[in-house]
Symmetry: C2
């Protein structure tokens, strides 16, 4: 069975589920030999993304560090053609 | 009148008010010659902190950059002595 490539992007998109669902997803990726896991969120899920990263590091994997955090803005179009902006976050975690 | 020291810490704490209140606070600090403004938030206000940083940069001050973003966890004690954790964020903005 081929191993996971270290260059492969491993991303967990944060939605409306409880944080522990996403924590488990991140831990599973690291246990599957991912070197870097990207936690991405938009809008109000951004707070939950930070919760997920903190819970992974503080409660489960002390050898995981924050490599970098990037924020941004996306332009979205609503159902009625209205345009609006939403903030984004990308938290990169690495296992040392 | 003494000028603002560049080493003085300029922090805007994000609460429950509309984002534009905090955007105005950040812009005011930069117009008062602050070189670095720190936007801090806890819990669900974290999403709003990212909104504030993005709005400042995209709509008002294109010469403001994100210098760094640090996340953390604080232990708080509730009214009944119960302890709980809350995530924190600190977004450092600099004017070039």
């Amino acid at each position: 069975m081929p191993g996971r490539s270290s260059s492969e992007e491993n991303t967990v998109f944060i939605g409306v589920k409880p944080p522990m669902n996403y924590v488990l997803a991140v831990i599973t990726l690291f246990h599957d030999n991912a070197k870097l896991v990207s936690i991405k969120a938009r809008g109000q899920a951004i707070s939950r993304a930070v919760d997920v990263a903190e819970i992974v590091r503080n409660r489960f994997m002390s050898d995981v560090k924050v490599k970098g955090i990037v924020t941004g803005t996306e332009q979205l179009t609503g159902e009625e053609g209205n345009k609006f902006s939403v903030s984004t976050i990308d938290i990169s975690l690495t296992k040392e």
